[in-house]
């Protein structure tokens, strides 16, 4: 298993490099001069040229890419054009907020999604099944930003139970976490259901029944563990969708996280900040995938023994 993990770890390196390359190329061929952007319109062309040279913007692209990777490895992602602070510092300030939001949303999605999926199998074709699956379908069909606004309208404006936005009390976390976690919960519930139903059709389930186990015991002891295999994979994809969703959720609820940094960076055309925040987020996704692979290998002995 150690070898399996190591292989996966090394396999992620080219992916990360590829991601960095794509982001770098996309952002560095952008039309429009970042220096001009930084300094507003009326500025001395000599100054512009000097700053350009200082920022090495005149070097060929591959030299700049090499320098960027080298600096990034040292934790240096450059300085934000707009905020004039090191990008790394800005990201590190924002990261805990995003992490908190993502973890809360993930917990919500697991604690709701998995039981809902199991319930719908146990009570197949009855009210609990339809209810769970309706909830799940709504989750995957609802635009996150709209759900956020709707909740704000109901719980903040109409009922006044929760703060509209901000990030200064635990109460502030409830709406964003639910909004963000709902679609993941829907995904997980639907997958748990279909995976469990498929597992229940396997020969070894029949063996377990023939052994005299009760239906509940068969479900708990024989079907669940197997049915979690695909669910674990989706939990990894979910990291990506949570982070995508976080961009919107953070914007709506004014949470100072990485997603909002990215949106602001786009609006301000702050290239170093955008670049670093996207790369950082992608790194999180890759780590999530890795974690899923390891989980998978723990759950499935057929991989462990390889």
């Amino acid at each position: 298993m150690g070898r399996f993990v190591l292989n996966r770890l090394l396999g992620s390196v080219p992916i990360l490099l590829g991601v960095i390359l794509i982001i770098f190329v996309l952002l560095n061929v952008v039309p429009g001069d970042p220096v001009a952007l930084m300094m507003a319109e009326h500025i001395d062309p000599d100054v512009v040229a000097r700053v350009r040279a200082e920022m090495h913007l005149d070097d060929p692209l591959y030299v700049r890419f090499g320098r960027f990777v080298w600096d990034a490895l040292h934790g240096d992602f450059g300085v934000s054009y707009k905020m004039n602070r090191p990008v790394a510092t800005l990201l590190m300030d924002a990261f805990p907020n995003t992490l908190l939001l993502a973890v809360a949303a993930a917990l919500f999605s697991w604690l709701v999604g998995i039981p809902a999926g199991i319930l719908s199998v146990v009570k197949k074709n009855s009210f609990p099944d339809y209810f769970s699956m309706g909830f799940a379908l709504l989750g995957v069909s609802m635009p996150v930003f709209w759900a956020g606004l709707l909740m704000q309208y109901i719980f903040a404006f109409q009922l006044g139970w929760l703060p509209v936005s901000g990030f200064n009390s635990p109460l502030c976390l409830i709406m964003p976490a639910v909004v963000l976690g709902w679609s993941s919960a829907g995904m997980i519930a639907r997958l748990t259901r279909s995976s469990l139903l498929e597992v229940m059709g396997n020969d070894y389930i029949r063996t377990a029944r023939a052994k005299g186990l009760t239906a509940v015991s068969v479900l708990v002891n024989h079907a669940l563990k197997n049915s979690f295999l695909p669910v674990v994979t989706v939990m990894a994809i979910q990291v990506a969708s949570l982070l995508s969703g976080a961009v919107i959720t953070e914007t709506i609820f004014s949470i100072p996280g990485i997603g909002r940094i990215a949106v602001n960076a786009i609006q301000a055309r702050d290239m170093p900040l955008l670049q670093a925040s996207v790369i950082f987020t992608t790194l999180l996704v890759i780590i999530g995938n890795l974690a899923a692979d390891i989980m998978y290998s723990i759950l499935d002995p057929r991989i462990k023994s390889k």
Binding site: P14, I15, L16, G18, V19, I22, I23, L26, L27, V29, V30, L137, L138, V140, S141, M142, P143, V144, F145, W146, L149, L150, Q152, Y153, F157, R206, A240, S241, L243, S244, G245, V247, I248, T251, I252, A262, V263, I266, Q267, R269, L274, V278, T281, T282, V285, I286, N289
Partner: protein, 303 residues
């Protein structure tokens, strides 16, 4: 290598070799039949038809001009005159939603179709040829899949500028990887089938094997992926427009309408809420249809 002797006795619970009964001859006719049989699929299908009809006949069924600014009619509550109310410029929200369906329809269909085409071709090639072709294609897919898709689309929009056309490009660039993965996996399992070996024994050329034997057997899964991919694209466009990096005012994009309405949530909630309901209903319709199709096509997708 050696196939295990596969013995005739059918699996218990599946009496008398449960084949698909020879009711109809063609796959497509059978598909239509299955959709009619399946409640959620027909529901989704009907919703879908309404949506398409709204998009096609938008100019004829809209009660007002969606772009007409009327500062005397700001923030009208829903009324017979304005069934869904008006926004801050006094524009009729219903008319804007009806016209917005055109954007959603096109944005749902075109990028999904493009990324399906790219993903299918690459997936077939990767699965069929294996080796380096496979590694190159699948590593690229891994890289694309590692991006949170919305962020990648945002970066593309940053580079190319915010416009509907660029959303096409951004969504097509992002969507193919997932399709390629599924198609490749299916190709790999189909490749094990003896009918592929039979074609090779006959001397059928590789590209014919791909076109005639592999691709048609991927079609059922592709149909489901397509149906479920469209709402994804619609949601992505809405999200990008909501964030201000998609469609630009005064385009009646549903996402953009929610975004402009959010400032007035406490005074005129309908401005933001109603376009969201439109998105929800359309996405639900596609999901219903996709789920129904998946159930109906299940026997065709098991390889």
């Amino acid at each position: 290598m050696e196939p295990k002797a596969d013995m005739p006795s059918g699996p218990p619970g599946v009496p008398a070799r449960k084949e698909k009964e020879p009711v109809t001859e063609s796959f497509w006719r059978e598909l239509l039949y299955s959709i009619k049989q399946n409640r959620s699929a027909s529901l989704g299908g009907i919703g879908l038809l309404l949506f398409v009809a709204a998009a096609i006949f938008a100019p004829y069924i809209s009660p007002h001009d969606p772009y007409l600014v009327n500062l005397n009619a700001q923030f009208h509550r829903p009324s017979p005159e304005y069934p869904l109310g008006t926004d801050m410029y006094g524009r009729d929200i219903l008319s804007r939603i009806i016209h917005g369906s055109r954007i959603s329809l096109v944005i749902g269909l075109v990028p999904t179709a493009i990324s399906m085409a790219i993903g299918t071709i690459l997936g077939l090639l990767a699965g069929f040829y294996g080796g380096r072709t496979d590694s190159a294609i699948m590593r690229s897919a891994d890289i694309v899949m590692a991006f949170p898709s919305l962020l990648l689309a945002m970066v593309v929009m940053y580079t190319l500028g915010a416009s509907l056309l660029n959303i096409f490009i951004a969504l097509s660039l992002v969507g193919w990887a997932g399709i390629a993965r599924v198609v490749r996996a299916q190709t790999l399992s189909l490749k094990e089938k003896e009918f592929i070996e039979a074609a090779r024994a006959i001397g059928v050329k590789n590209r014919v094997v791909i076109a005639r034997h592999l691709f048609p057997n991927c079609v059922p899964s592709l149909l489901v992926l397509f149906t479920l991919g469209i709402p994804g694209a619609i949601l992505s466009e809405a999200s990008l427009s909501f964030l201000g990096v998609g469609a630009q005012p005064p385009t009646p994009s549903w996402g953009l309408m929610v975004s402009t309405g959010k400032e007035f949530l406490s005074v005129a909630p309908w401005v933001a809420i109603t376009p969201g309901i439109a998105i929800l209903l359309v996405v639900l319709a596609f999901n219903f249809l996709g789920d129904g199709l998946r159930d109906a096509l299940d026997p065709y997708m098991k390889h």
